[in-house]
Symmetry: C2
């Protein structure tokens, strides 16, 4: 390879934040599929010691000979070890980009919606052009599975992380006189029992849905009131519309 | 065709709410693409006298011989004529379903997220099995175009319709002491100047982005403060994170 062609390859190397959707490999977009077929390097998060979920979403679409960067997250609460993993990965990715190899970071759902891609994005701005490919989020995937008209007309939608404390959640869930509001509570996981009890105290249990692993083979959907358990998987969500469902009459 | 095979065809006819994403035909999912290739009938909204935008998204993926139902919306403010259009379309769709022909309703973005599909959904529940295929919404498509980390960790996201009045918007935009909040204001359209003035009064202009026709060939993205116009296209959005962007440090 001549100096010239090397430099041209370098110039065209890109970092992709690739939204791969909520879990079903068929909910990948054509654009993400095309980019997966073009890049020589992929990177993805995993929980240390277990297969990467987002790599499983991509698996049917991966070509041979890919270089793979597995960002294995230590399963501890502290934030510091995760930051170290992202830092090491960012350095590896940076080397590939500087050598002219495009890198796609695989993201569950959408890269900029509670995605780990953002940890790399802020470290790699300026190294190469960055392209974000949006993906189907778990919020609308859960609504689809529940058959729940989520928001229409003058409804608003508030997405809340389940780990927020009761006081803060209460303020958000009861903040307005309007009943034209839908809520999605993400990252339910070990907060399940607390969240269910909170919604019951606030009189919001009646309209709440619980959805687990939306669009995956083992998805589960139920009225929250009918679910008895102390915790839930990480990929679970509570959805509710204060009026029951979006009204288009 | 025997009575038996007719009845089996009827039993398998389905109504699909097909999310086709924000505008780029490449942001269609593999699942939506497969279903587009299988159904004999499609239905889609349009503004009376102009080509249907969502049909344009689907156009590269349509096969010959499709039966098409164009739900042409009269361009008047009143709600009643639109309800009539949906009622007539629901009756046509119902006839196809009862005759064993599956129907896909094409939806910009996601069917249950401010989508006109919901007007048909409530009229057709019980006529045939209904399957919702979630799509990429304009919210994350706009964040991707703006390169704006939208929500991370304990951030919340509130999606607000631009037509809400100033009082209600103000209450929502300022409701919490927390700066861990992002907002998406949809359906900006003819409310552009009012919304920009409101955000300026609330001291929120600095971090606001304006995105028009995200992911389409003629998309436009700018700091809201730099946009001088009295109104905006229907497909435009204001995005802002109170802290500037989601922080993952």
């Amino acid at each position: 390879m001549t100096e010239n062609s090397t430099s041209s390859a370098q110039a065209s190397a890109r970092l992709y934040g690739l939204g791969l959707g909520p879990g079903d490999p068929e909910l990948v977009t054509l654009k993400a599929l095309r980019i997966l077929g073009q890049v020589p390097v992929i990177a993805y998060p995993s929980a240390e010691g277990t297969p990467s979920l987002v790599r499983q979403i991509a698996a049917p679409h991966l070509h041979d000979g890919l270089i793979e960067i597995d960002m294995a997250m230590p399963m501890v609460e502290a934030r510091f070890p995760a930051q170290q993993v992202y830092q090491v990965a960012a350095e590896q990715i940076s080397q590939h980009l500087r050598a002219g190899r495009s890198v796609a970071v695989l993201c569950e759902g959408d890269p900029l919606f509670y995605g780990s891609f953002m940890y790399l994005y802020q470290r790699l701005e300026g190294v190469a052009p960055i392209e974000i490919v949006p993906g189907v989020t778990s919020v609308t995937a859960c609504a689809a599975v529940a058959g729940l008209p989520l928001v229409a007309r003058k409804d608003s939608l508030t997405v809340l992380p389940g780990p927020l404390d009761d006081e803060r959640l209460t303020r958000r869930l009861t903040s307005s006189e309007s009943d034209e509001q839908a809520f999605a509570i993400m990252k339910v996981g070990r907060h399940f029992a607390r969240l269910k009890a909170l919604l019951e105290r606030l009189g919001l249990l009646e309209h709440a849905w619980y959805v687990e692993r939306a669009s995956m083979a083992d998805q589960r959907v139920a009225r929250l009131s009918a679910v008895e358990q102390s915790q839930a998987p990480y990929f679970s969500m509570i959805l509710l519309h204060k009026r029951g469902r979006a009204d288009v009459n």
